[in-house]
Each structure stands twice: as structure tokens, then as C-alpha cells.
């Protein structure tokens, strides 16, 4: 059995600076693995270990994602191989373009039975790529998984709804995206970190994958929100009715 986990590599949000005109400065931001994808990798690694499956990671994005440390980071987490398309044509890729490319990669890798994705990316959080990838592959998809299991021909996904727990079984191949609580990312062991550099990384070109699709949305601008000034309203708990006034003030802004 072969499992593929979709991973986004993006600039570390801790290093992103907001310019005076509210545009974002990524120049000092180093690459990192999108937060929720770490949970997806962990869930995939646990499932692969249980099902004795091979686990590959699949990522695409602009050239800057091809960072040796980030590659090793992914490969130190129970992943056997990494497949990558690093092409500046994907600089502002929308979910449709990304889904198409990831699907082409999954097909090119071949024999993939199950694709696992994270809840959403740490930057755009569109929660679209899992569905778009499944659509391009023509595979069934389900999101919000909090537990996964497989017998090799089907995947069983548990989801927590408002008041009930839903268990769904789907035939493979399929795409499943998982909620962050599905698994706590491991602290990669030192041995795994040292071994990561020796694991295979396959780099595709856009041509090999049939090219990058035309975008379906146009990004007009990305701006940081205008900070809301503090109201500096002070309530003294000793005053009559202060607690009620405080609660009323909170209600008003919420």
C-alpha cells in the first residue's frame, strides 16, 4: 500500500514583517512546514506504520520551497520519500492550480491508494486543496477526519460533528483531510533527523506534469488588517454594577 501526504511549504509566519503600507515583507522569512500539515504527516505516518504502507510526501510551490532543511524536516517524520515541484509559476497559486498539480504528481508517482491532507494551510487556510485535488483525480474525498484506519481496500474516517461522531468508510483510492486533533506531531528523533538527508527526494518539472493550469482567481492585494486601537475602558470591580457593565461591553464588541 502507498499513502501520499500533501504538504505545503511556506514562509515562517513568525518572520513575516508588516510594511508601513500594510503589505507583507517575506524577505526575512525562512521556509517551514505549514502548521496543520505536521498533524497530517503524523496521522499519515502512524497509519502507514500500522498498515505497513509506504509513505510519500508531496509538495509544490515556488522555487523558495526547495530548502534543504525543510526537506529534511519533512523526511525526519516517518516519511519515506519526498516529491516536489518547485516552480515560480506557483508563486501565488490558487487552490485550483495547486489541486491540479498535486493530482498530476500523485498520478505520476503511481500506485497511490490514499491521499491525506491537512486541515488548511497556515497562510491562506482556504480549505480547498484537498477537495480540488480529489476532483482532479476523480476520487472520493472527505474532510475533517479525527481518526483514520485502513484495511488496504477501504479507508475508515471518524469525524466529530456538533453532537455526534460520524464514521465513514470509503473505497480506495480516496482523499482524506484531517483536523489538527487527529494526531500530535512527533518530536523527530535525532536518528531520524540524521537519516533524513539520505532519503530520496524527487523533483518534477512543470512540463512533466502537463504544465501549470491557468488561475481561476485573481489576487488583487494582500494586506495586513488595520490594527484596532485599544478602547482603554477601565472597570473597577469595587463599583456597583461594574461586572454587569463589563459583560455588557464585551457583548457589544462580540
Amino acid at each position: 500500500m502507498k499513502i501520499a501526504v500533501l504538504v505545503k511549504i511556506l514562509p515562517d509566519d513568525q518572520d513575516i514583517q508588516v510594511n508601513g503600507d500594510r503589505t507583507l515583507d517575506f524577505s526575512r522569512a525562512k521556509s517551514t512546514v505549514s502548521t496543520y500539515d505536521l498533524n497530517a504527516i503524523e496521522a499519515a505516518a502512524q497509519l502507514a506504520a500500522k498498515a505497513d504502507a509506504q509513505l510519500v510526501a508531496v509538495t509544490c510551490g515556488p522555487k523558495s520551497i526547495n530548502d534543504s532543511k525543510t526537506r529534511k524536516n519533512i523526511l525526519s517524520r516517518g516519511v519515506d520519500e519526498l516529491y516536489m515541484l518547485a516552480d515560480d509559476g506557483l508563486e501565488l497559486a490558487d487552490a485550483y492550480q495547486t489541486g491540479r498539480i498535486l493530482a498530476a504528481m500523485v498520478q505520476k508517482i503511481g500506485d497511490v491508494d490514499l491521499v491525506i491532507a491537512g486541515d488548511g494551510s497556515a497562510d491562506l487556510y482556504a480549505q480547498q486543496v484537498d477537495i480540488q485535488t480529489a476532483e482532479a483525480l476523480g476520487w472520493p474525498a472527505i474532510n475533517g477526519g479525527t481518526a483514520l484506519d485502513t484495511d488496504g481496500t477501504t479507508v475508515t474516517v471518524t469525524r466529530m460533528l456538533e453532537t455526534e461522531r460520524e464514521v465513514i468508510r470509503m473505497p480506495l483510492p480516496a482523499v482524506v483531510s484531517v483536523a489538527p486533533e487527529v494526531a500530535l506531531p512527533r518530536i523527530a528523533g535525532m536518528k531520524d533527523v540524521l537519516a533524513a538527508g539520505k532519503k530520496p527526494v524527487v523533483e518534477f518539472t512543470a512540463e512533466e506534469l502537463g504544465g501549470i493550469a491557468a488561475p481561476t482567481i485573481e489576487t488583487v492585494e494582500i494586506l495586513a488588517p488595520v490594527p484596532t486601537p485599544r478602547k482603554k475602558q477601565i472597570f473597577d470591580a469595587a463599583d456597583e454594577g461594574a461586572i454587569d457593565a463589563f459583560v455588557a461591553a464585551l457583548r457589544e464588541v462580540m
Binding site: 532543511k69 529534511k72 524536516n73 518530536i187 523527530a188 528523533g189 535525532m190 536518528k191 533527523v193 538527508g197
Partner: protein, 388 residues
């Protein structure tokens, strides 16, 4: 000159910070300091993440490592926690054992280490009458060849990890306790062997590691518990002193860096006389000198570690490191306390703990004066060997 960390080193340090985030909360630290031990589950988690396997030979399940990475890991561990994490030394102890133990002894040690996550053995070297001057020790080993046993006697003191380590590494003089007897033998003895008793000593700092006086009263052990060669115990012991000094210096540096960061954050917020603290020149000067000291410490430590890794003798440099880093870390911690003011002198701030822990590094693993004792001779050898 290349100061870049490798991808692997950066990832290990990130993972180490994650480990600290998950396992080493301030509440837990205080609990460990109160009860003189770190919980087994945390020691085991450290081991499972691989940090505790550094330096142990691969054939015993260890991870081949270098002194530079070890120094970075130990430094980061203290910097992140602002405390002494006893497990920093556990792997290195196993490395010691692997240096002169038989494969069976090492396997036995690894088994204990893997099971508890605690340091496999404590080192019973110092005695009430023999600290810096180890040769004055009076503990003895009597060889009873008829029964194939040895009888150990003596009082050992200031034994770190004595309560938590399953074994004790004992060193004593063969047969004769007199000062000039240079024949020492070393043994790996289970802590619960009849005749061994201990009494706690109470340190003022670094109390996350227990510390005891250990009494050996006619302790009978099989001769097969001998570590290394009969009569060569002292030489064996000296073997890994240099890497131990590098590790202890990294402990000092991590504490100093934690103090500096704590003080800088405080100075950025606290307002006196209408100004943020750091805008007062006297405080800015302190911060500046603290930063210079931390950078100097790091440069010296990394260079010594690099020399060690490249097979360059570090007898001099490891002694210089140990002296400079232990004393300077205490200075930095003291200045940090000054910047934090009266609050820094209370248990509300962790700066007191850092200061008191850093102070202990001037004794453990050789005092700052003994480092002079070593360095002085080496310096003359280095520059005036023709005159000796």
C-alpha cells in the same frame, strides 16, 4: 571560518525546543528542584528523542555525535528552560562507560539507562579529605583472589545522581590507602549492594540533581565488576575529562544566555523615572557587557569543541573554557539579577535559580582554581617549551 549550523543541527535544536515546550514547564522544574530528581518519564522522553544517545557508540544503540553538536544541545537546553536539566550528562556518562567497560558491562548499563531514562551510574570519586587533590583519597580495594571478589571500603562525598542512578562507579586505591599509592581500580557496583549506605547532602543550587555522601563498608563485589584495567583506574577516569569540561561549559553558557534574555526583556518593559530601563546608560552598559561576555563564551566554547572534533589537543583550551565560562556565567547572571531589581532576588523570578546554579559550575568537574593549575603549565609548555 564557518559559523553556520548544519540543517541537522538546526532541526535538532528546533526539536529540542519543542521537547522543552511539551515536557519542561516551569511548574515541573520547581517540582524537580524540590524533590531532587526529574521524573523518569521526562528523562525517557529525552532519551527517546535521541538527545540522550549522543556520543554513545552506535553498536550500543547510540548516535555518533560531535562535541560541537553536544555543546549546542546542552546550551539550548539550559537557555530554553533557565534551569539545570540533569539529563544533559547522561549520554556522556554512557560514553565513559563505553570507553573502558567490557561489552557486557556497557550492555548492562544501556539496559538500565533505557529502562529508567536516568543516568546509569553516579561517580563516587571525591572524598571528605580528597576533592581537588584526588590522590589523597583513602578509599580502598582489597583483592580477595581466593574468592574471586573485591572488598571496597571508604567514604565518598558530593556524589551527583547517587539516589537515582542504579549503579555507582567507585574508584579506590588497591590495597593501600597511602598518599603515594598510584594503583587505583574502578568498579561498576549496583547501588543496592549490601554495605552501601548514603546520606543526602543539600546543595544550594542545581537541586534538580540529587547529591549524597556514600559510604562503602566492606562491600563485596565480584572481580568481574572491575571497570577497565586493574591499577589503571585513575588514568581511565581522566580520559574523558576534556569532553566533560566542554559539556559543563555549555551548561554555564546556556544559563548565562537565559539570564541575559530575561534581563533584556525586563529592561524593555520596566519603566523608571519616565524611561524604559534599557534607556538608562548604566543598564545599557550592563546589557552590553553581558552580551559581549555571552558572545565570547560561545566563541571560546565552539572553538574548543571544534578543536576536539578535529583531533586537536584541548587540554589547555578545555581548562580555559571551564574556568572562563563558569565564572563569567555567574557574572552575567548576577548582572541580570541587578537589572531585574528586588524582584530578581525573589523566587517570583527565575533569575535567582539561574545565578545560584551557575555558581555551582565553579566547583563541579574541577574548580576554577584547578583549571588554572592545569592551564598554567600548559601555557608555559605552549610558549616556552625550550626553557623547561
Amino acid at each position: 571560518m564557518d559559523f553556520t549550523k548544519t540543517d541537522e543541527q538546526e532541526l535538532m535544536l528546533e526539536n529540542l525546543r519543542e521537547f522543552c515546550d511539551r515536557w519542561v514547564t516551569e511548574e515541573r522544574i520547581q517540582d524537580w528542584y524540590d524533590k531532587r530528581r526529574v521524573d523518569d518519564e521526562v528523562c525517557k522522553a529525552y532519551l527517546e528523542a535521541g538527545f540522550g544517545y549522543m556520543f554513545i557508540p552506535e553498536e550500543y544503540g547510540g548516535i555518533p555525535s560531535d562535541a560541537q553538536t553536544l555543546a549546542m544541545v546542552v546550551e539550548e537546553l539550559m537557555r530554553t528552560t533557565g534551569a539545570t536539566m540533569p539529563f544533559m550528562s547522561y549520554g556522556l556518562s554512557m560514553y565513559d562507560l563505553a570507553t573502558f567497560g567490557t561489552p557486557e558491562q556497557v550492555a548492562k548499563g544501556m539496559e538500565a539507562y533505557n529502562e529508567t531514562g536516568q543516568q546509569c551510574f553516579s561517580l563516587a570519586l571525591s572524598e571528605p579529605g580528597a576533592g581537588s587533590d584526588n590522590q589523597s583519597m583513602t578509599a580502598t580495594v582489597h583483592w580477595d583472589d581466593e574468592n574471586g571478589t573485591c572488598v571496597l571500603n571508604g567514604t565518598k562525598t558530593m556524589v551527583s545522581h547517587a539516589e537515582t542512578a542504579p549503579y555507582i562507579m567507585f574508584i579506590g586505591k588497591d590495597e593501600d590507602p597511602s598518599h603515594d599509592n598510584k594503583s587505583y581500580s574502578m568498579f561498576l557496583v549496583p547501588k543496592d549492594t549490601p554495605g552501601i549506605t548514603m546520606a543526602p547532602l543539600h546543595k544550594i543550587g542545581q537541586t534538580s540533581t540529587n547529591f549524597d555522601e556514600v559510604y562503602f563498608d566492606n562491600v563485596v563485589v565480584p572481580q568481574s565488576d572491575l571497570l577497565g584495567e586493574k591499577g589503571k583506574g585513575f588514568k581511565q577516569l581522566m580520559h574523558n575529562f576534556e569532553i566533560e569540561r566542554i559539556m559543563l561549559s555549555a551548561h554555564s553558557l546556556g544559563l548565562a544566555q537565559a539570564a541575559l534574555e530575561e534581563a533584556a526583556r525586563y529592561a524593555a518593559q520596566r519603566v523608571t523615572f519616565g524611561q524604559k530601563l534599557f534607556k538608562h546608560q548604566l543598564i545599557a552598559e550592563k546589557l552590553t557587557d553581558m552580551e559581549i561576555k555571552c558572545q565570547n563564551m560561545r566563541n571560546m566554547l565552539y572553538k574548543t569543541a571544534w578543536e576536539f572534533d578535529n583531533g586537536i589537543p584541548v587540554r589547555l583550551d578545555s581548562a580555559l573554557c571551564k574556568r572562563y565560562l563558569s565564572t563569567t556565567a555567574t557574572e552575567v547572571a548576577s548582572d541580570a539579577m541587578q537589572i531585574i531589581g528586588g524582584l530578581g532576588y525573589t523566587t517570583e523570578s527565575k533569575i535567582g535559580r539561574i545565578w545560584i546554579d551557575a555558581r555551582g559550575d565553579s566547583f563541579a568537574g574541577g574548580t576554577e582554581e584547578i583549571m588554572v593549575h592545569i592551564a598554567g603549565r600548559e601555557i608555559v609548555k605552549k610558549y616556552a617549551s625550550d626553557l623547561l
